[in-house]
Structures are given as C-alpha cells and as structure tokens.
C-alpha cells in the first residue's frame, strides 16, 4: 500500500499549486502598489506621534487606504502593548 501511495503522490499537480500561490502573492503586491505614494511617509509620521506617548514598534501600526467608487476609507490600525492599555 505504501508503495502504491508513493507513485500516487508523485502525480500531484504542482502547476495548480504554483497558480494558487501566485494568485495570492500577486493580489497582495498589487494592493500594496495601488496605495498612494504618501502612505509610507504618513505612516512614519503617525508612528512618531504615537511614540511620543507610547513605545510601539513599526509592525504595530498599519495604514491602509481603501478606495471605492464614492467613498475612500483611510484605515489606521495600531496595536498597543498589553501593559499600556490599562
């Protein structure tokens, strides 16, 4: 049985795995490059302001712009360290 499985597993369609992985990464990268040029600078300045009050790391802040037809939403996510919340 094991022996047969070995041959079966060799028949994995690796091309479809490649396609799935590409679709995910390409969508992610396209989203990032559709963001306006000022976003990294904006994120950096917001980070500096927050840091005046709370020590946070760069990964704890994310700024995103979601553009729809008639509404754009600037989404700001800041994860605060546990001890500071209280």
């Amino acid at each position: 049985m094991k022996f047969l499985d070995y041959f079966k597993s060799k028949k994995v369609d690796t091309a479809s795995i490649a396609k799935d992985r590409l679709q995910i990464i390409v969508a992610h990268e396209r989203h990032n490059r559709d963001q306006p040029d000022y976003l990294p600078a904006l994120q950096k300045e917001i980070l500096e302001v927050i840091r005046k009050y709370i020590p946070i790391a760069e990964e704890q802040i994310s700024v995103n712009l979601d553009k729809n037809q008639d509404l754009s939403v600037l989404e700001l996510n800041i994860t605060l360290p546990d001890e500071e919340v209280a």
Binding site: K11, V12, D13, T14, A15, S16, A18, K19, R21, L22, Q23, I25, V26, E29, R30, R33
Partner: protein, 271 residues
C-alpha cells in the same frame, strides 16, 4: 513616427535578448526599418546573438556622451536588409545612461526608423527603467514559472507608473505577454503553468507562446536570430508573434504535445 518597443521581464535569463533579436529581425523582414538597442550596459550580449561582436567600434554610451555619432555606432546587419544594431557599452559606470541622453538618441532614430526595439537588462534598476521609459509598446517576456510570473507582474506595475506615458498621463503603453520556453508536455503532466494560468494571473494580451526548443541555443551559438531558422518551431512562433504585433490575427500554434511518429522517436525530431 517610430514605434518604440521595450522587451522586458524583471527576472533575468528568461529570453529577452533572444526575443529582441528575433522580433527585430522579423520586423525588418517585413520591410520595417528597425534598430535594436542593447540597454544591458556592462553586459553586452545582443552583439553575439546577432553575430556582429567583432564589428563593434562605438556603442550606445559613446553616442549619449557625444563621442560618436549615431551613424558611426549603428551596425548594419549583414543578413537582413533594413536592420541595425546599437550595441551596449561595456562600461561599469551605472550612470552612463541618462534620461536626456537616451531620449536624444531615440528621437534621432525615430526620424528615420519604423521600429526601435529596446533589449532591457534584467532587474528593476536604472538600465531597465531607461529601456522602458520612452516605450510605446512593452513585450513582457515570461517563463511559465513562479518567480518569472511574479516579476512580470512587478514590471507591469512599473510600466504603469514610472514611464513617460504614465507620468504625463498619455495613452497607456500597450502591454503584451510573450510566454517563452513553453513545454506542452510538461503542462500536460501538470508540472508547468499553462498559458491560461499565466494569462489569468497577468491579465494582459497574449502576443505569443515560444516553445522550449534546442534550436534556440543552436541559433545563438552561430549568431543567427532563431527567426531565420525556418525549421525551428521557436522561430515560427516568433514569426507569428511579429505578425500579431503588426496587427494580423494569427492562431497560436505549438500548444499541444506533438505526437511523434515511430521514425521521429527513433532518430529524434529536430524541433
């Protein structure tokens, strides 16, 4: 007005120079006066593929620096009427290509040529930017393989934002996918991304599919653009791509596994 075509990819070694030589030659064969420019400064190679490496006196950077005239630097192809090569410089100076300099050379070429084919270096550095900046048409050479497809998508992003047409709000660059080193056998076995897979992901118009073929290496060994080899299926696929570029509708070929007859299997077909 000349049409400026950039042959680009992001990833290295996918077949840009092979394609530039083939498409440039194909256009000249169709009666279009064509210049192929090697933008790969420091790593000149188009001269070898076109068999003019021993005739290089002046190069692209010499013309930009006004150390030579365009006419002195252009090499007239010995096989194909109406075809000229502008070789890359071997300098290691990364800033040898300036935007103003490149524009001046392209403008001067545009006065007398129908097509200008820019063979881009790999990567997304200065040389690649300069090769695509003034383009009207982009041929994105892609291999059916994950890193090549991803890099092609990045190049599309750059074409849509960091080129003259993008920056001045002009008509967008015409973008075409050229899938090269395609192996229908491996696609059939599920080992290689299919044309449809790559089209789904990149979502740009398909210019052609160039099969993996031993004749490509044979051609470059001899310095003959593969499009001049009538027996080569890669050469024929390039010819179809040139016709599509010129607006003809040509059906895609060499997409299915060629069933080899007994004799061919015994003695090997010369694809």
């Amino acid at each position: 007005m000349a049409k400026i075509i950039v042959v680009t990819s992001g990833k290295g070694g996918v077949g840009k120079t092979t394609t530039s030589a083939a498409i440039g030659t194909g256009l000249a064969l169709k009666g279009k006066k064509t210049a192929i420019i090697d933008f790969d400064v420091g790593l000149r190679n188009l001269d070898l593929v076109m068999n003019c490496e021993r005739r290089v006196v002046y190069d692209f950077v010499n013309v930009i620096n006004e150390e030579a005239t365009l006419n002195q630097a252009l090499i007239k192809d010995k096989r194909t009427e109406g075809l000229f090569i502008l070789p890359a410089s071997q300098t290691r100076d990364k800033d040898a290509l300036t935007q103003e300099g490149v524009q001046r050379v392209l403008n001067e070429l545009a006065e007398t040529f129908d097509y200008i084919v820019c063979d881009s270096p790999a990567g997304i550095e200065k040389g690649a930017h300069m090769a695509m900046y003034f383009a009207d048409v982009a041929i994105i050479v892609t291999n059916p393989e994950v890193s090549s497809v991803r890099d092609s998508d990045r190049i599309l992003g750059i074409l849509q934002s960091k080129t003259m047409r993008a920056e001045t709000g002009g008509e967008p660059i015409e973008e075409y996918l050229l899938l090269t080193r395609y192996s229908p056998e491996r696609v059939e076995k599920g080992e290689m991304l299919s044309v449809e897979d790559v089209e789904d992901i990149l979502a740009i118009q398909l210019l052609g599919i160039i099969p993996e073929s031993k004749t490509v290496l044979k051609a470059s060994n001899q310095g003959v653009p593969v499009i001049l080899d009538d027996e080569s299926i890669a050469g024929q696929a390039y010819e179809d791509a040139v016709n599509r570029l010129l607006g003809e509708e040509v059906e895609h070929r060499f997409l299915t596994v060629a069933k080899k007859g007994f004799l061919k299997r015994m003695f090997g077909g010369n694809q």
